[in-house]
Structure formats: C-alpha cells, structure tokens
C-alpha cells in the first residue's frame, strides 16, 4: 500500500517548450485517479516523469512520506511504479509473452510457470491474443493489450496508464475497466489518462484536469458533471455532437468498389459511395476495417477487385490513388502517418506535388492554415512531429489531406487519442467537408461517434461486411451485438 504524491512538478523541454508549470497529484491506495486534458496539456510528460523516463525541471515526488528521486525507469520500477506509455513501446521482434516478461527477474528465459501465470492473467483480462506471435505482427489493438498485460504482470503498487483504451473498441474497454476496478480493490493506486469523459465518470474516484501544464480542476468524480470536466479541458464549454435533425441527402455516386478483396483478410466487398456521404465502418479489433481502407487505397499489394472513381478505374497503387484524389488517414500515426525527420510544413505538403520545385513559403502558409483550422498545438510550422503531443501529431496526419484536391477521404480512427474539444472539432470538420460534397469513409471504434455523424453504417466481422445499420435508428448496443465482440484479438477466423 503506497501513496505517491507529486508536488510542483515542472518540465521545460530543451527546445524551450514548457510542458508542465507546477502540477500536484496524489495517487492513493485503492483509488483510481483520472487525468484529463487537451492534447498537449502535459499528461504524457507528467507520466513520463512519474515513470522515470524523463527528469523533471522542478518539483518533488514523495513515496509515502519519503522524498524519492529517480531519473531512470529502473528506479521507478524498483519503487513499485508500473507504466503503460501512450506510444506503446514494445519490442517488435519478441513474442507477446516475452514482451510482457521483459523486465522479469531470474535467469531462465523460458519458464513454464511464468508462461502459465501470464496465460491466466491474459485469460482473466478477457481479451485474449496470441502469446507467441511476434508483437510486430499484431494489430495495434492487440499491442495495446500486450502493454496493459505487461504493466499488470509486474505486480506493481502503483499502475500508471496513458490512454490505454485509445485503440480499443467499447466492449474491449469494458474488460480493461473490470481489471482496473479489481486492481483498485486490491489496494493499488491507479492513474488513468483518457480522453473519454464517460469512462472517466464510470471508472475513477477523483479527477485532475490539466491545461497548458497547470492543474485547472481537481475534485472527487462523484460530485462532477461531465460538462464541467469538458469545459475544464477545453477552457470553454463544449457541446456534444448531435445527430443532424434532418437526414442528409447524399449526391451522385462518386466511389464504387467491385469485389474488392484481399486473400485471407477481406472477403469480396462491393459498395457505392455518394458525394457528401459519410459511410461508417463498425467492427471489433481485427475485423478488417483497416484492411478495407487499405484495399481501396491500393496500399495492400495482395488486394484484388476494382475501385472506380466517377466511373473511371483507379490504379491499384497508393500513388495512383492519391493522384486520383483518394486520401487515407492511417490508424497508426507514428509508423504510418508522418515522417519524423521532416517538419510539420513538409509533412503536410508531402502528398501534394505540383511541379518540380517546392515553394517553402506556400507550404508554410498552407501548414499555418491547417494548424489554425485544426487547432494544432505546436511551436510553429517548422517543428518536428515527434516533438508534438500524441493527439496533435494525429491532427498533423489529418492536415495532410485537407487540400482541395482530395476527392474521397478515408479516415481510420481519426479521433484516437484526441481530446474532447478537438474531437468534436474534427467531427464537425468531417461533416463540413461532407456538406461541401466530399464523400468520407470513417472507421472508428467509438460507436457513439459513428452513430452521430454517419449517414450509413456497415458492420464488419472477420474480414467481411455482414450487414448494414441505420444510424438514425440504431443504438450502441445494437452495434456491439452486430459486431460480435469476443473474437480473439489478431484472429482472422
């Protein structure tokens, strides 16, 4: 039973960014502490300091009544703090089991008892994944579960979780919640970061909200209204996105798929997308939603079938798709979304090649417009994406495709890890784009989000479209039933 308290933690990065300006936080045994804040508010930075991955510029950490100082993860571990980081740092070439056991002691690598222990832990989490598959081959959701299991397996007294549920679907989240509740019941202290206010309300005992590196709200969850939290996060009042009162009427067909398939991953799929239509894809982890988007975009070399834009076939490579005006915002922003060594302006300009020479000034102007439009929190257009907070990096990836040349927009989990204020902004933006006639396909594990803005919903399961739902009449629980939660992560069949 340990109480960990942070006092006056401040952090200034070497490039001058002030991420934290003196934050206090207490993690008490048996309690779940929710940490919220807009993208770039400083949550991950605080957590890295807690975990010993970053050194604070000022402030102290107390473990019970002792002042402790650590500047390495090893020190934090030894003090009983286990951390799940936002950008899941796993070893891609090692199996899931070995990643979970990464810092295990002893000298033997293959211990049957350790394996049994982890297998039962995984089973108790209820979202099984293959233990012996290299993590690099697992989809992002399963990797998230590996990271969660890794933190839980260490038996730490203090468990710190930075957006552990960002890549999980609703019912999979439920299982994580159950685990967290069990941990709290065992007397552990939990710090839980999330952008989902509903899960904060349901799960936590107390809440801290950060804004611009300062605590703007700290209170018992029980006495709080969700709107108050949202307002504290955004610094203004936030209204949830409502379904449009009148059904929107899509225009002429724009995109047509004829028997688009990928062996082993996606059954033949045909559909038509109309101008201004927002088509939602619902499904569980590994149901093939990303695969469908990749197949449309030509990013899967094994995919077969025809994609037609305005009746003309589109080439089956991403460069041809981009040339035709199809845009894809991929789900894994760090590995698929941006080039870390190029600046924001260069990243945003990357898909748009006109002519031989690039125009630094024009790129900067475009980037600054996108920064403005998406409210990206950055020191400037020539910052590197790696220096941004997770949610802001995601916005950069969306910004790449906001040019007028985009004819079809494919969005794969565009709001994963995005704060509540920005989330509604992005969804509004999607709707505005659609209102201007842009057809959109939206993949989201947030069924609420799908129901709110989609005109039509397709449900995928095991790599096949198994049905269609009407967003006007369906509810979240309908979708959960249809998607059939419970299939193992990473399983195709």
């Amino acid at each position: 039973m340990v109480t960990l308290s942070l006092e006056g933690i401040a952090k200034t990065f070497p490039n001058g960014t002030v991420a934290l300006r003196g934050v206090d936080l207490v993690l008490a045994p048996g309690r779940v502490h929710g940490l919220l804040g807009a993208n770039g508010a400083g949550k991950s930075t605080l957590i890295k300091i807690l975990a010993g991955a970053l050194a604070p510029t000022a402030g102290t950490i107390r473990r019970d009544d002792q002042v402790v100082r650590w500047s390495t993860p090893r020190g934090a571990k030894a003090a009983g703090v286990a951390t799940i980081y936002q950008h899941i740092p796993l070893v891609p070439t090692l199996s899931a089991l070995e990643n979970i056991l990464l810092d295990d002691g002893g000298w033997r690598r293959r211990r049957a008892d350790a394996r049994a222990r982890i297998a039962s832990l995984v089973a108790s989490l209820g979202t099984p994944f293959p233990l012996d598959t290299p993590v690099g081959e697992l989809p992002i959701g399963a990797r998230q579960m590996v990271a969660i299991t890794q933190a839980l397996a260490s038996g730490a007294e203090v468990v710190v979780m930075d957006e552990p549920t960002a890549s999980l679907a609703g019912h999979e989240r439920e299982r994580v919640y159950a685990t967290i509740r069990r941990l709290a019941a065992e007397g552990k202290a939990v710090l839980f970061v999330s952008h989902f206010i509903d899960e904060i309300m349901a799960l936590t005992d107390e809440v801290t909200v950060l804004r611009d590196g300062r605590t703007v709200l700290h209170a018992e969850t029980a006495g709080l209204e969700p709107q108050a939290i949202a307002a504290a996060i955004a610094g203004r009042s936030v209204t949830a996105l409502e379904r449009p009162a009148v059904a929107r009427t899509p225009g002429a067909p724009v995109l047509e798929l004829r028997d688009v398939a990928s062996p082993g991953k996606l059954a033949p799929t045909s559909l038509t997308l109309r101008a201004g239509e927002i088509l939602g894809l619902a499904g569980t982890l590994g149901s093939g939603r990303s695969e469908l988007l990749h197949a449309i975009f030509g990013a899967d070399p094994a995919a077969t079938g025809a994609v037609l834009l305005d009746g003309a076939p589109v080439g089956r490579w991403p460069d041809e798709a981009v040339a035709a005006g199809i845009a894809l915002v991929p789900e894994d922003r760090a590995s698929q979304g941006y080039v870390p060594l190029l600046t924001l302006a260069e990243n945003i300009a990357l898909p748009h090649a006109t002519g031989l020479l690039f125009d630094v000034e024009a790129d900067r102007v475009a980037a600054e417009a996108a920064i403005e439009r998406l409210a990206i929190k950055t020191p400037g257009a020539d910052a590197l994406p790696g220096e941004l907070s997770g949610g802001n990096a995601q916005k950069v990836v969306i910004a790449k495709w906001l040019a007028p040349t985009t004819r079809v927009l494919l969005l794969d989990e565009p709001t994963a890890g995005i704060d509540i204020g920005a989330r509604t902004d992005i969804l509004r933006l999607v709707r505005t784009l659609a209102d201007d006639g842009l057809p959109v396909i939206l993949v989201s594990s947030e069924f609420e989000e799908l129901l709110a803005i989609c005109d039509r919903l397709l449900v995928l399961r095991d790599g096949a479209v198994i049905g269609e739902a009407d967003p006007a009449t369906s509810t979240e629980s309908d979708l959960i039933l249809m998607t059939g939660g419970g299939a193992p992560l990473g399983a195709a069949a």
């Binding site: 975990a51 993860p73 090893r74 891609p92 090692l94 990643n99 293959p130 233990l131 991953k265």
Partner: protein
C-alpha cells in the same frame, strides 16, 4: 503447441536448405568428374576448420547485431591479438601471452563500446575508425614486418592448442542422440532434427572422424551463446535492446551495459580468433585477415540476422559461414577457373539470401493464428 510447418518453413530454415543444396550439388559434380567422394569426413572436417575463425567472429557479431550495433573492427582486432600473442609468447610463454592478447582485444572492445554509447557516435564510423587505427597499431607493433615465434617449445604449445585433432565420432553420436531425446521431450522439433543430422553426419564421416581443435572451440562457443540467447533472461534482454532500445530502457533494462557487453564480447571473440590464427601459423604478418570483417558480417546476415537489431540466431550464422567456405572449398576441389569464381560466389550468396527472404514473403500473407483462445484457457 509447436507449429512444425512454421519451423521448417523456408523462412526459418532457409539457410540450412541452402547449405544442404550446395553440398548436394558439389557432391554430385565431384562424383560426375570422378573425384574422390566430396562428402568425406576429411573434407567436411576441412570445411568446418576453414570456417572456424570466421564462425567464431560471426557468432559474436551476431550478438552484436542483435543488440542493434555493428562492428567493423573485428578483423583488425584479431590481427592485433595475434601480433600481441606472437610478439609476447617467446618472452612470457604461450598462456600468459594468450591472456594478454585477449585483454588487449577486450580493451579495444571497451573503447569501441564506450565511444559508441557515451559519446554517441554511430557504430559504423567508430569501428571503421578503429579498423584503421588498430591495423595501424599492428603495423607499429610489428614494425611493418612479419613476426614469428622462435622458441620451439612455445611453438609446440601453440600448435598443440590449435592443431590437435579431436576424435568426434563418439561424442557426435552421443550428442546427436541426446539432442534427439531432448527435442522430442521438450517438443522442439529443430533440436531433434539437428540431433538427427549430427548423428547422421557422424555415421557418414565414419568412426575415425576427427576435426581440428578450432572446430571444437567454435562448437563450444556457439553452443554457449545459443544457450544464453535462447534460454536465459540475458538473451531476452539482448534481443529487447536491439529490437526497441526505448522499450528496453523503459522496462528498466540497462541498455548501455548490454551494448557495451556486446562490444566487448565481439572484440574478445575476435581476439580469440586472432590467437588461433597466430597459433596456426606461429607467426603473424601485418596485413593478416585484412578484409575479413565483411565475410564475418556476410555470414551473420546470410544466417538471417537483421542489420537493424532484435533478431538473429548464432547457429544460423555458423551455417552461413559454412555456406561461404563450402563454396570456396568446392571451387578448389572442382578446380574451377579463378575468373569465374567471383561471379558464381556473388550469385550464390544472393540466391541463398533469396531462399529465406522469399520464404518470409510468402508467410507474411498468411494471418497469424492465435495461440491462446478463450476455449483453450477455459479448458
């Protein structure tokens, strides 16, 4: 539980198939030309002996590559160790000189590792620098001339260390049987098949089969590192350090220490290879082993070790080295025109690498099957 198809796939076992294929082709060609049997114990022993130095350095290089680093200086370090050995053995005796040589090698590994880890310079350029600098040291030590050991008794000791022939028929047979049993019990098909192959090899080679000592040293060193990598936590951590240093650091692994250790291991192995080299010739010339570093790295990469860290197998590296030396041995046996050797060697290297890469390609298309299903756990 064990996925046999996967374990015997081209991707996993490609380099073994490549070696067997090459041996088969060479044996057939030799038979067709009426030469003595190619797969004789003596010839196989020769190949293993010829590959032993590169094998020893390659095995350590594999560990190095697994941790995500790189060492171009091994050949120079080996030459330096040989020079130290040959230079000192006459005065202080063989064993102290050999330890001095290993200590010098370890020091250079420590310097390499410290510069890479603590100054933060790229390992490629650091070890390229030490490649040059250490070769310079060899020149200075030898004054640009060949050194030799003059004392016959020391020379005899050195020869004994290097050239003793070790009878291998019974040990090999026993080891093969043990591995087969172990593999079957522990359900590790590769171990079992490896054991069977070893046993078969012993039978093919005949009861009089013996090999030179360096082959035994190579086998021992490989077995040790195979065990460490595959069965100890140190091994797992080495893979983690190379696969994702940040993840390793965040899990509390001392990345610096493991990388530094890999540098020292690589240099010590190179030093040991240098000691064997010095013993073999009882002499050292200043240009000895020049250029061997590329062969060493080629053996590791042919064995499927990734240049980007996090993956690799020491046994396959040895097989990669055997592949390279089987090729030159085959050229010699078949008396192939020198002009064509380079072309054929290059093509065979690329083809061997293609075998497992293509195997991997085909696998990637297949979705992975889950290991733990709810049903299984519930059961």
């Amino acid at each position: 539980m064990t996925d046999w198809r996967r374990i015997f796939s081209l991707r996993e076992a490609g380099v073994y198939y490549a070696l067997l294929l090459l041996l088969g082709v060479l044996a057939a060609l030799a038979a067709a030309r009426g030469l003595p049997p190619y797969l004789s114990g003596q010839n196989l022993g020769n190949i293993a002996y010829q590959a032993s130095l590169v094998g020893i350095m390659g095995v350590a290089m594999t560990v190095m590559l697994i941790t995500g680093a790189f060492d171009l200086s091994v050949a120079s370090v080996a030459a330096l160790a040989a020079a130290v050995l040959v230079g000192l053995a006459g005065q202080i005796g063989f064993v102290p000189a050999a330890f001095a040589a290993l200590a010098v090698a370890a020091t250079i590994g420590l310097i390499n590792g410290a510069i890479v880890q603590f100054v933060g310079i790229n390992a490629f350029i650091v070890t390229l620098g030490t490649l040059t600098a250490v070769r310079g040291l060899v020149l200075i030590l030898t004054d640009g001339r060949s050194l030799m050991v003059e004392q016959p008794e020391v020379l005899a000791q050195m020869l004994a260390f290097e050239s003793t022939r070790v009878p291998l028929f019974w040990p090999l047979l026993a080891l093969g049987a043990a591995l087969v049993v172990l593999g079957l019990v522990k359900r590790r098909p590769f171990v079992a098949v490896g054991g069977a192959v070893l046993g078969a090899l012993a039978l093919v080679a005949g009861a009089g089969f013996n090999v030179a000592a360096p082959v035994v040293y190579l086998a021992g060193f490989t077995a040790l590192l195979w065990f460490v990598l595959g069965f100890t936590v140190i091994g797992r951590r080495l893979y983690a350090v190379g696969g994702n240093p940040e993840a390793a650091r965040l899990s509390g692994i001392n990345v610096h220490a493991y990388r530094l250790g890999a540098f020292v291991l690589s240099s010590v192995a190179a030093g040991f290879a240098g000691v064997l080299f010095g013993c073999r010739l009882g002499a050292i010339n200043p240009t000895a082993l020049q250029g061997t570093e590329l062969t060493v790295i080629a053996a590791a990469i042919l064995g499927g070790t990734s240049l980007f860290g996090g993956a690799g197998s020491v046994v396959k590296t040895v097989v990669g080295a055997l592949l390279l030396f089987t090729l030159t041995n085959g050229f010699n046996i078949l008396n192939l025109g020198a002009n064509y050797q380079g072309l054929i060697e290059g093509v065979v290297v690329v083809a061997a690498a293609a075998i497992y890469t293509l195997g991997a390609e085909r696998r990637r298309a297949r979705p992975t099957t889950p290991e733990v299903t709810p049903a299984e756990v519930a059961a």
